[in-house]
Structures are given as C-alpha cells and as structure tokens.
C-alpha cells in the first residue's frame, strides 16, 4: 500500500492523478454521489490539503482500493460538512486522532496475490495507524460496516445514534487500532506480512514530520529475505 501526504502529493503527480480519477469513478459514477461530481472527472474536495493522508492499494500500477485520513485537529467532514450527525454530542479530536473517509475498493480489480484488495486496504489502514502513532480513527459509516470492524479486530465505540444523511444511513464510530487487532485482522484475511510500501522511498510521519515512518518490528516485511528466523503465519489463531 502506498502512503502519500504533504509534499509527496505534489511530487507524485501521476499517482495522484490516478487517485482523483479513481475517486470520481467510484463515488460519482459507481455510487452516484452526485454532489462530488466534477466536470474534469477528478474528485477533489476542500479537505485534500497538504495534511490529508492518501492510502492506496495498487495492482499493476492501477489503483484498486483507496482511502483518506484527515487530521481532526484541522477542518474535517464531521466538523465542517455534517456536524448534525453527532446530534449535539462531542467527538474525539486531537493530534493523534484522524477521520477515516472515502474508503472504497474497486469492483473490477478484486484481488492482489490472491488476497482481497478490500482486506488489504483495511489491514493497511490499521498497520499505518500503528506505524504512525494514530490512536483513534473517527468513522462515519453504515451500521453494517460497524459489524465488519467489530469482527476484524477493531475496538469500536458508537458516538451517536444512526441517522439518515442524504438518504444514507450513517453512524459515527470511533475505531481503535491495536497490535492484537492487527494480528487478528491478518489471520482472518490470510495476510502474513507488512502491507506498507515504505522501502521504495522514505515516507515522513505526518504526526512528527521530521521522522521517517519505520516498519513495525513484530510484522514480517513483505519479503523477509532470511532475516526472520521463523515463518510468520497466524493459522493457529481462532477467528
């Protein structure tokens, strides 16, 4: 999974172009969210600033799944687009809390190396949070996806009752990543290694921009290259 934010989004023009078009194809053309429609076919909004974190799963250089994390210390969807879904309640905000938005997997490219791209995306998001030091994600989503988060190792907390927003049922939820959760997620989806592409070029940590993102020590790298003494498989864990 590629991680792009800050100046990298200015340098990686080819990839960002693919991301804007993928978002338009998915959210506008496929899901029919017409208020995001753009004449040039590139779905970009006010929140795609320097601080937005773009996470993309690529298959043969094409975007197969994508999501975006927004800092809650700056304007985000819950603060500026639909605060009413909170029904007057507060939600967690702060330097280590991000809002999880625009999460989608392609309906055309379903797998990479035999693993579902949607699973790779979600597991990649959790791994990224642990690597970067994000302790909470605020998500506004359909109740059924709360069930999937609960089943796949996220600790969750409902923030406000579900409500209809523009004909979509949404419920605001906090999702907490953890090493145990990541292992569970890996086991359930058959992933046995790190998903973050941090070796091609250094990616700086959005929370502490002077430091590079470093892989988690307890997850095997994609190609262990003999460093791991033992194979990493989680087959013994129960779902």
């Amino acid at each position: 999974m590629r991680v792009i934010w800050g100046n990298d989004s200015l340098r990686e023009t080819d990839l960002m172009e693919k991301i804007w078009r993928f978002r338009h194809d998915q959210f506008v053309t496929r899901l029919g969210w017409m208020d995001l429609a753009k004449e040039d076919g590139r779905e970009i909004d006010l929140f795609d600033t320097y601080n937005a974190i773009h996470l993309a799963v690529l298959v043969d250089d094409e975007v197969a799944a994508y999501t975006r994390l927004l800092p809650t210390a700056a304007p985000h969807l819950l603060s500026d687009v639909y605060p009413e879904v909170m029904a007057g309640r507060d939600w967690p905000r702060g330097h280590t809390i991000y809002e999880w938005t625009r999460c989608i997997a392609s309906e055309k490219i379903l797998q990479r190396d035999g693993l579902a791209v949607s699973s790779l995306l979600v597991a990649g998001v959790m791994e990224f949070c642990l690597v970067a030091g994000i302790d909470k994600l605020v998500v506004e989503t359909h109740p059924k996806l709360v069930g999937q988060m609960v089943a796949t190792g996220w600790q969750t907390e409902i923030l406000a009752p579900p409500c209809l927003y523009k004909d979509y049922m949404v419920v605001p939820v906090v999702a907490v990543p953890s090493p145990e959760g990541l292992l569970k997620l890996h086991q359930m989806t058959g992933i046995g290694h790190s998903l973050l592409d941090l070796s091609r070029q250094p990616v700086m940590n959005p929370l502490t921009p002077s430091r590079k993102l470093m892989p988690l020590d307890y997850i095997a790298e994609k190609d262990p290259g003999g460093e791991e003494e033992f194979p990493l498989r989680f087959g013994w864990l129960r779902a």
Binding site: P143, K144, V171, P179, M188, F230, A239
Partner: protein, 244 residues
C-alpha cells in the same frame, strides 16, 4: 433531550460490556426486543449444508415448542430467512425481503408454521466476517413496525450482542509447540530481556528501539502465547522452552 431510542441504544451498549453469561445477555436482549414489540429472538452460527444447527445455536429465546420443532425437523436448511442472510450484508425485515419472493414448498411450510408461534414477521441481521457469513441475529413477533433509524439501532445492538456472546466462548488453547513457532526473533530477544527483569524503557535502550515499540513487541508475543501479562509471558516462555 435524548430520545427513547437513543437511550435504548446507549444503555444497551453500556450494559452489554459487563454481561458475562449468556442468560444475562438473553435477559438484556429481551428488554430491547420488547421495546420494538418483538417477543422472540435467537442468535446462531450458520451450519454447513450437511450439518445441524444445534452446535451453532448461541442463544435461543424462541417459544420452546418451536425451537424443538425447528431442530428436530432440521428446518435451518429450508428456512428462507437463513437463505436470505447468506445473500445480504444488511439487516432486513422478513416480509419485505422474503415476503413476495418465490420460495419452495418446504420454505413456505417453515414460514407458515412459525406464524402459529406468533412469529409472523421479523427483523434479521446477518453478521459477516471477511471469510463470509458468520452468524444471524434474528428477532420476531406479530408485526415489524420500525423506522429506518430504529432498524439501524437494532442492527447495531445485534452486532454488539453477538460480539459479546462470541467473546464468552473460551478460545481454544493453541498448541504450544505451534504457538512458540510464531514467535519472531525480535520478540524472543525482548522476552529474553523481560525475563532478566528489564523494563520496557531499559529494553528499548539495550536494543536501540523506542519504549513504545518494545511495548508493541511484547503485546504481540503475549497474544501469540495466549497470555495477558508480562509475568505470564515470561513463565510461558520458560515452560515451552522458548527461553532457558
């Protein structure tokens, strides 16, 4: 002002975390079902085509006679509600989702017989995991008269009730030989220093890693060896011969 439905949801979410027996969860869910005018409910895993439902049934608040008949007659494999659950990932009202669909004779019989027990309509929630359908949480009564928001609330309640129930089932102890084989060299190194009585900060200094990283590595090792604290981890590492 908080609405009744809002209180129902948040009171349930607060309570459910503290309930550690199926009977208590059943009693708590009965209160929720009653709020919506539904009087029977059940939570069950989905058996494979050649299997029976009994070992999958996690919670059963059906009328006794119906529960007996459902199991004796092996109705689970003809039940159109179960069938429908396999094909959707959202909660649904029976009369809307399977009401008009052409169904087989046996499926029709299941639905008809259920009405004898005042299970005329219902609301069912499929619980999915990445591997596919995991379970169904189902409520039923004489009629289902719920707004979109109320359905979403009951769907969330179903999700958390199922999760709590699943967490109560003791996890099978992993085979220790297999479990120790999952421990990575890095984890072994950290366990070794923890056994020497070093703190996370000290281990971090020795291995040139951050305290937080050490904490994560230990948490991962604990998870793999199925223990919950540092002392147990060290004991288990000695017991299984990981360290000597």
């Amino acid at each position: 002002m908080r609405s009744a439905i809002e209180n129902l949801l948040f009171d349930f979410l607060t309570d459910i975390k503290t309930l550690d027996e199926p009977a208590a969860i059943m009693e708590r869910l009965a209160k929720v079902a009653g709020f919506f005018g539904l009087d029977s409910f059940a939570i069950s895993g989905i058996p494979l085509p050649h299997e029976r439902i009994e070992p999958y049934l996690l919670l059963n608040a059906w009328p006794e006679e119906w529960a007996n008949r459902y199991m004796t007659e092996n109705y689970v494999h003809s039940d159109p509600v179960i069938y429908r659950c396999k094909g959707t990932d959202r909660g649904f009202v029976w009369s809307e989702a399977v009401g008009d669909a052409p169904i087989g004779q046996k499926a029709r019989r299941v639905m008809n017989e259920a009405t004898e027990f005042r299970m005329i309509d219902g609301f069912s929630v499929p619980i999915h995991s990445p591997g596919g359908i995991q379970a169904i949480v189902t409520f039923s009564g004489e009629k289902v008269d719920m707004s979109e928001e109320e359905r979403a609330v009951l769907e969330l309640i179903a999700i958390y009730a199922h999760k709590q129930l699943r967490d109560l089932i003791p996890r099978e102890k992993p085979d220790p030989r297999q479990a120790t084989a999952q421990i990575t060299a890095r984890e072994l190194e950290v366990i070794h220093w923890a056994a020497e009585g070093k703190s996370n900060w000290e281990i971090g200094q020795i291995l040139a890693r951050s305290e937080k990283t050490v904490q994560h590595i230990l948490a991962s090792a604990q998870y793999k060896l199925d223990v919950t604290n540092r002392t147990q981890l060290v004991a288990e590492a000695f017991r299984t011969g990981l360290i000597r």
